[in-house]
């Protein structure tokens, strides 16, 4: 029983990181109907930026700020310069260009910082059951989700972003700069992705560190419904719990295949995720 509680608390803490990554995917999917496979790469870049800054200044929190800043800027830059001109041509090309970005960034990080692991610190002590760092993970993702909700629901910028996502033409006619809103969406999504990276990266970072994290993030997003931010958060926590139990009781090598089983089962029952609403489509 004691072991079970430990696994549950660990699962919730790692689930927070998956939830943040899923949230990042959902924000971009809502705005552009595109699953951003480059998300782990953007998070990787942010985390390595934090690593370098922390090494230079000796302060974790300056590094943390650097990660979030890098995420915001790189996300916006990538949308503007790389993704937008190509995503226009076809949906498959849009997916492929994010894959291309993933390859370039992952390889580039390996070229600059090396393929070997670097040790990377936690924000707070990680010793003991439900350590301060676990609390920090849950609280920070909770705050990020609340801020995001407030942004979309209560601010003019959020209203414009929603308008640009759901009815680009109508939004443009009412004077919303739709392109600008897409860039903002990518920036915000990558910022949250950077947060996910800062939570999931420790204790060691290497160019492939987020492959498995991304798998759980995309599982969370798909299970919760790619269209639904709340679904992403709930999905992230559920996947965190599920993976923690599987790793603890069966073996960590099977965690990813279990994620696959969860995706297939959930989607066979509800093809658009747990929290999806039925949609009508004209043929």
């Amino acid at each position: 029983m004691n072991y079970f509680i430990t696994l549950t608390l660990n699962g919730l803490a790692s689930g927070a990181a998956y939830a943040a990554l899923a949230l990042a995917l959902v924000i971009i999917y809502q705005a552009t109907r595109l699953v951003n496979f480059a998300q782990p790469a953007l998070a990787l870049l942010s985390v390595y930026a934090a690593y370098t800054v922390t090494q230079l200044t000796g302060s974790y929190w300056i590094g943390f700020a650097a990660a979030l800043g890098t995420g915001l800027l790189v996300g916006a830059f990538v949308e503007r310069v790389v993704v937008r001109p190509i995503a226009r041509t076809s949906q498959l090309n849009a997916i492929i260009v994010t894959l291309g970005l993933l390859l370039v960034v992952q390889g580039g990080v390996g070229m600059i910082w090396g393929n070997e692991q670097h040790s990377f610190g936690y924000a707070f002590s990680y010793v003991g059951r439900f350590a301060p760092s676990d609390v920090f993970a849950l609280v920070s993702v909770g705050i990020a989700a609340l801020l995001l909700f407030a942004l979309y629901r209560f601010t003019p910028l959020g209203l414009r972003m929603r308008a640009a996502a759901f009815h680009p033409e109508a939004a443009r006619l009412s004077g919303v700069k739709v392109g600008m809103m897409l860039t903002a969406g990518w920036g915000i999504a990558s910022l949250i992705g950077a947060l996910a990276g800062m939570l999931a990266g420790p204790p060691f970072i290497s160019p492939n560190v987020f492959d498995v994290v991304f798998v759980f993030g995309i599982t969370a997003a798909v299970v919760g419904g790619l269209d639904n931010p709340f679904g992403a958060v709930i999905g992230g926590l559920l996947i965190g719990l599920g993976m923690s139990y599987v790793s603890g009781y069966v073996g960590p090598e099977l965690a990813t295949l279990t994620a696959l089983a969860i995706v297939v089962i959930v989607l066979s029952v509800r093809p658009d995720g747990i929290l999806s609403r039925p949609t009508a489509r004209k043929v």
């Binding site: 999917y29 699953v35 496979f37 790389v82 001109p85 190509i86 041509t89 076809s90 498959l92 090309n93 997916i95 492929i96 260009v97 894959l99 291309g100 970005l101 993933l102 390859l103 370039v104 992952q106 390889g107 580039g108 390996g110 070229m111 910082w113 090396g114 393929n115 160019p207 492959d211 498995v212 798998v215 995309i218 599982t219 997003a221 798909v222 790619l226 073996g251 090598e253 099977l254 965690a255 990813t256 295949l257 994620a259 696959l260 995706v263 297939v264 989607l267 066979s268 093809p271 658009d272 043929v283």
Partner: protein
Amino acid sequence: MTSPTTQREERPAASGAGTTPPRTPGTSRWGALPLPARHLLLAALGLAAVTGLLFATGDLTALRIAAVGYTMLAIAGLQLLVGGSGQVSLGHGAFMMIGAYSMALLVLHQPTLPIVANLGIIVLVSIVAGVAVGAATARLHGPYLAGATLILAVGLPGLTHRYHDFLGGSNGLNIRTAGVPPFLDGLVTTSEWRTLVVWTTVVVGLALLATVSAGRLGRRMRAIRDDETAASMAGIPVGKTKVVAFVIASAAGGLAGGLQAYVLGTVTPSSFTLVLSLTLLAALVLGGIGSLWGALWASVAIVYLEIWATDLARSLNMTRDAENNLPIVFFGIVLILVLRFWPLGVHGALQNLRARLRARSNSS
């Protein structure tokens, strides 16, 4: 590279989605042959071209030519799936892994079986795996299918650690396959012989894929790709056709993986990473989707961009980290640039060029 004359029949499918090739009056005798016979004839021509190339370039490039061969087979299968039925799979490397490990296990535990039997068994194993995965994911669409197959690609190598004794863990399995048969001894080297075995399998596989793609099944797949609802109203069994497309693609991928294991003599989980799966799909789009010619450009790009990048890194005296990572960065940059300036891939760009040249010669 001259081999895929095998795919001449496929070209019209790229320009007008789903139209059967028009029978021009000039090729009446050629057109009178049944489709499979035409594809087999072109396959034989392709094999002859590869053989010529192999003897012209010698033993050193044999492994590279073999690599182009099996990569092309894997990408051609993916082409049928993505370009034909419109399902995006990010997990094709997983099927290559299944094929490669099947080959290694067969050679280790049944060393007396001939290579043909091994390849046949591998196709069967991949078909079973394809049916399992395809049936499980048949209801998923678009990004959901991409996500599920991505998880498969990341998760499957974990099995080798789980069953360490049987699958060899992260060290993988090493095999010794039979070399040149006695009657050809002295005529060809071992690697040339293996390359010929690979390409014989590849051209037969490609001829089959081309025949499937030009026939009724291919037409049904393209109908589903263009509009699933309309296709089902026209009486096409959507779910079944999608699973069949998935199974064919996984059989091609598994066979390609088996050939890879046969040529390299070793299989490790680290050669079937997520990057491999992503590279296969990305290369397909880079080469040009909708045509088996695209698969040729794609496989040449995968094999040779890596070699060029490694040479470049060596000549610039880069550090080992840089040298190891330059190929994938190089590939990613080429991919993004090709998509930026030639949205239809290399094959689409070549077609445009040809059309423009023809228009100029007509007007003058």
